[in-house]
């Protein structure tokens, strides 16, 4: 399916990204779905691309490693304390902890 010769497969491969992104009209979507039902190669392309995109999106949703987050939080604390007016820093430090 990497280099399909059937014009129907070629057309599907050209539009499959738009299909996955909801960017096609109803008629074109239906034609792609009919083609995918008739051609196992085309169905495999759609499934493979959907899995590929899903894998990338899962990565974006995953929290960054804990040690990276901890370093980021420490940097933020240092920056904000350095930028905070000295008076506010002193009053914050003198506030008794509950």
């Amino acid at each position: 399916m990497s280099h399909p010769s059937d014009p129907k497969c070629v057309r599907l491969l050209e539009r499959v990204s738009e299909y996955l992104d909801h960017a096609l009209d109803e008629g074109t979507c239906r034609a792609i779905e009919v083609q995918a039902r008739e051609c196992p190669g085309c169905a495999a392309v759609i499934d493979g691309l959907r899995r590929t995109v899903g894998l990338c999106r899962d990565t974006g949703d995953r929290p960054v490693p804990a040690e990276v987050k901890a370093r980021a939080q420490a940097s933020i604390r240092r920056l904000l304390e350095a930028k905070e007016p000295a008076g506010r820093r002193r009053s914050r430090k003198s506030t008794p902890s509950r």
Binding site: S2, L13, V16, S17, E18, Y19, L20, D21, H22, A23, L24, D25, E26, C29, V45, G48, L49, R50, R51, T52, V53, G54, L55, C56, R57, T59, G60, R62, V64, P65, E67, V68, K69, R71, A72, Q73, S75, I76, L79, L80, K83
Partner: protein
Amino acid sequence: MTKRSGLHLSDDGADEKSAEYARLVRAAAGGDREAMERLLLRAQEAAFRVSLLVCGHADDAEDVMQEALLKTYQHVGRIREPEAFRTWLYRTVRNACLMKRRRRVGEPARFESTDAGDEREDGRSAAMDVADQAPRPDELALNSWLGERLRGALASLPARYRVIVVLREVEGLSTREVATVTGISEANVKTRLHRARVLLKERLEGV
């Protein structure tokens, strides 16, 4: 044209994420320390993911995070369009990545944008030719977090495709936002994204 949804993938969340950033920016600019902390953390996390996946080096990612931290803090105080913050952030991170690539030892001395045509005839990135070094412990941890297979497949993409797929699929930017960040047309973003997806699928499947 009637468009439809259903079993497909969607980028509807992009606008909502931009709106979330804008809310945080307004609150932080108004003196809300907690909002500032959350905004800075998000900016650093985005910088880490993008720089690691686009540049491929953990050391660079840490530096890009620091740059995102300082620039975001400075930018929030004078921002006029909070809704444009998200694209500003990713443009800033992308530029920092470009500078890192430029300075990295062993890479070409001349400046190369991520849009540069570094694809060889076989579709693989020229960076693939660089000799591998034994992975350091932090690299192993990153591979474990990200998935060595996906990281390797992304690294093998030509840079001009890699940056598009990272911004669009990993970070969830809309096509319009990716076009703004990279300075290319939306039509070009769509074309590159399609090619990137197909190449990435082939690399993941070992074709």
